[in-house]
Symmetry: C2
Subunit: 316 residues, 2 copies
């Protein structure tokens, strides 16, 4: 019998901070009962609006997140923030290491902030971030901001997890054409040029706009907004743009479609996880170990042994 989850879902639904914090730890660390817990809270999800903020290191994502959170707080909305923070062996700690501490909002009872870092699998990290978003959603937050630094896969995953994805660039991000090439144009619902008081800002905006012209026509038009997040300039316009995008998604039933796709890929991940766990039973671990001599001595091949193991699994 699995140890029961130590988190009271009733307290979570009531918005209790400690229960929320414990619930996120439960799913982040994949403790016993975490799946059962996620199943329990699932019917309470789907109410919060999820915003993804991504961009290169140093673009000021956490400052922008901070200011947006303050803005929403003034509207009396409950905010959850998840900062997804893939680590690199070369930067050691977090790529968001330059993270601005969110002192302006972090003492506010109605803002819940959680950083999630992980060495290794980014795929696993984004799954956990989505689960943490579900927890915040079930706790009654109105807005969930998911912030991630752009390295490889993670920003694409975050785009899948968000209703509106904002890509933050700075004048120094330089070759925006390069940035566009690699899928950013597809994931950005709109762009924000932060630090727009610096040299080169106008030029950066122009070149992003130029590239957006090549985007296939759609009912939603991506755009570029300017801001100076550290001074709070342009925040209101960004929030308005998010609201505009939300209204577009809701009216076009695009929101429903997006969320359905998200849930579908979640189910595929759950299946893959469960298959892996079920597959590597003690019996098949033993078969693998005992047949390894044959593989390394070329009596059989990795490919044949893999098939043998699969047949064992499916014929049980």
């Amino acid at each position: 019998m699995a140890r029961r989850s130590a988190v009271d879902s009733g307290l979570l639904f009531a918005g209790d901070r400690i229960a929320t914090s414990r619930a996120i730890s439960l799913v982040e660390n994949e403790l016993d009962g975490s799946e059962e817990f996620l199943r329990t809270i699932y019917p309470k999800t789907g109410r919060a609006y999820r915003i993804g903020i991504t961009g290169p290191p140093g673009a000021g994502k956490s400052t922008l997140t901070n200011k947006l959170a303050q803005y929403y707080r003034r509207q009396n909305l409950g905010i959850g923030i998840i900062a997804v923070d893939p680590t690199s062996p070369f930067t050691g700690g977090a790529l968001l290491g330059d993270r601005v501490r969110m002192t302006d909002v972090e003492l506010d009872e109605d803002v819940f902030i959680r950083s999630m870092a992980s060495r290794g699998s980014l795929g696993g990290l984004s799954k956990k971030a989505m689960e943490a978003a579900d927890v915040l959603d079930a706790s009654g937050k109105d807005i969930i901001i998911m912030e991630t630094v752009g390295v490889g896969q993670s920003e694409l995953d975050i785009a899948g997890a968000a209703d509106t994805t904002v890509v933050v660039l700075v004048p120094e991000s330089g070759d925006s054409i390069q940035a566009m090439k690699a899928g950013l144009m597809e994931i950005a619902d709109f762009f924000v040029l932060n630090k727009a008081d610096r040299a080169g800002a106008e030029q950066a905006v122009m070149s992003i706009k130029m590239i957006l012209h090549f985007k296939p026509a759609s009912a939603w038009n991506s755009d570029v907004l300017k801001c100076v997040a550290s001074e709070g300039k342009g925040i209101e316009e960004i929030a308005a743009k998010i609201g505009e995008h939300r209204a577009y998604l809701e009216q076009s039933s695009e929101l429903q479609r997006k969320r359905r796709l998200r849930t579908e890929s979640r189910i595929r991940e759950l299946v893959a996880d469960k298959l892996r766990t079920d597959f590597w039973s003690e019996e098949r671990q033993r078969i693998l170990s005992s047949r390894m001599d044959d593989v390394v001595s070329f009596v059989t091949t990795p490919y044949d042994l893999a098939h043998e193991l699969i047949n064992n699994f499916r014929n049980q």
Copy 2:
């Protein structure tokens, strides 16, 4: 019936360049017949010695690779180079975009160079790089150098794929203690400080050495070598160190153990791939689609549907 592979394994075993190139394309693009081909060549693998070179962007990995390849060519050894090149949406193209073109060696018949880039799954990329290494191995190359830039998971994967892993740093890499924290000390068989003619080199070497003292005692002692790869300085010493490590691995039967573990994790990946392919049959795709309405309307949960699908798979 699967279309037969267009690559003649006999030509590959004879070291034919075009056959080698086609064979790598076959596995890189996962064309029909690629698994069958890998099965065929498997008994011809295991002869080449595999060297992994990793480090942060700008550390001079490709220059070092180039010079090492030249060195080995002078020993009349056949060389294969695989440059694993994860792309980032923010840098657009390749992170190895600053790659030094390997003009010194690339026209040499006995050096085979292949760059592998991929947007998206790094896991998939490292699998393909290992398969490409198998192709080069079967083609009769003596030394295979696998070069990757350090972002997230890829350098750890490359360490799993190599017999000897060299981590390249430069004085500017800065906080080496940070770098050490995140698993580099574990993967590096030794360190190379490139651009050692620059300011701060001695200090960088000292701090890496200091940290290596904290490494648990082992029969193999990691070390730090200095080089100026662009001028060819220190290359011979690096090659000697690689040779020393190889001798250590062979004499301690550590090489056998390492390669066995590598093959084992390869089999686990093959199993995971095959499970995924077998699982998502048309029938189960249909079940998923038809039950999605129930999930989004909270009649069931993603967790229950995943279990339902798994049961369907296992009870067939």
